[in-house]
């Protein structure tokens, strides 16, 4: 992959926060803003979905994201596509080299199946054991969305490999403390995210690994941008975004 110098190091943070492990958040991010997520530990997981706030029916489409870029893993240089052929966000910086596109979401039954001793809010207050599925449903309901709107999600910071026969393997302890990934938004995007564990995480108890979140701005990408150039398909994706923003 051709990876010219990138403008990913956005030094000025406009907003900084921390999302503890096992929790969820959603926010609208404008075109031209960046979302930098930093893990404090190896084995962190961040479930992520994207929707178009102007038309919530337009959403992250992982099949299109994978097939348009001929990739199974996601890393720097890749773009996250909506089902309308547009780019929600580009991955402009990445320390991990592999983010999971196939593992899906932690369901309530996994908590029991894994022997993670589910803890209610009454029992554990902020240390209760949320599932990623419930985390998404809670955030989505705030926008009038529900089970029908749950698309296949990305699992940032996690790595699931396939061998030549298609057999899957979850890589335990992927990443290093301090590793980060940065998304640059190419259109206004409703971002829904959670820090619940990956459904294949073999930890003996519900792992609680949070992320530091840093919001910033980035200059608009030009034709020398690493994500624009990484695949000819992405140049066409950016052209679809240009069409969407005509007149702005």
């Amino acid at each position: 992959m051709s990876t010219p110098a990138t403008t990913a190091d956005h030094s000025e943070a406009l907003y900084i926060t921390h999302l503890p492990g096992g929790h969820h958040w959603s926010l609208r991010l404008r075109r031209g803003t960046t979302l930098k997520l930093s893990a404090q530990q190896a084995g962190t997981n961040v479930g992520l979905l994207c929707y178009n706030p102007e038309n919530l029916l337009e959403r992250l489409n992982l099949p299109d994201t994978l097939k348009c870029q001929h990739t199974f893993k996601l890393t720097r240089g890749h773009c996250l596509y909506s089902d309308m052929g547009r780019i929600f966000a580009s991955i402009t910086q990445d320390d991990l080299g592999w983010h999971d596109s196939v593992g899906g979401n932690l369901m309530r039954h996994h908590l029991v199946d894994k022997g993670w001793q589910p803890r209610s809010y009454q029992q554990a207050h902020n240390d209760w054991t949320r599932s990623g599925h419930d985390a998404f449903l809670v955030e989505l309901a705030k926008y009038g969305l529900g089970r029908r709107d749950l698309a296949a999600n990305l699992n940032l910071f996690s790595r699931v490999e396939s061998d030549d026969t298609g057999r899957l393997r979850y890589i335990t302890g992927h990443g290093e403390p301090g590793d980060s990934v940065t998304l640059r938004f190419e259109m206004d995007t409703l971002v829904v995210l959670h820090t619940c564990p990956h459904p294949l995480d073999p930890s003996p108890d519900y792992p609680r690994r949070g992320v530091d979140i840093r919001l910033g701005v980035a200059p608009p990408p030009d034709e020398n941008d690493a994500c624009f150039r990484s695949r000819p398909e992405n140049a066409r994706g950016f052209e679809n975004n240009r069409l969407y923003h005509l007149g702005l």
């Binding site: 099949p63 089902d83 592999w98 030549d164 052209e239």
Partner: protein
Amino acid sequence: MIIESTLRPENAVNRTTVDAGDHYIGTLKAGQTLRILDLEGNQAADTLFYSARDTAERYSAMDTVREQGALYLTAGSRLLSSEGNLMLTITADTCGRHDTLGGACASESNTVRYDLEKRHMHSCRDNWMQAIADYPEYGITKRDITHNINFFMNVPVTAEGGLTFEDGISAPGKYVELVAAMDVVVLVSNCPQLNNPCNGYNPTPIELLIWK
């Protein structure tokens, strides 16, 4: 895994030929068997399943793939719903591998994959849009159209995390057979794609057969 069926076409209660670029929507009752037959070879049958009782519960690629620990579908694969429930089991397969990752072609993704000026060409998603417009009684709308199965498609993933589109491993007369564990709505687009060498640029009909 190649497993041949013992069911005989003459005993099927329903046989429907679906031309390329056309669609099928119908209900398969619990216990019934559906065969999807690739009549002329290297065709793609883009398929979604919904619980007939509650169409918000539907086939989930992620749950199916993760719980079986393997990317491809074949005989023995258990197709799980978005609630983790068993919807159908693949009981026979003479093709050996079916894609779970590539999703459907759409007018919009075709502009990215092939050319901006291909947007007018027919696609699986437009085909499904026609199906749900023609049959509103199923209660399926655009938000229900998600990550589908591509029966007969071969999309190998490499150990390094690459994704490739290989020529089909299907051939005339190959089929896959599924038995329903719950009443399911079956929604199929017989892929009209003219830009992908996988079908030799020549999309062809499939047949759907149902046994009681």
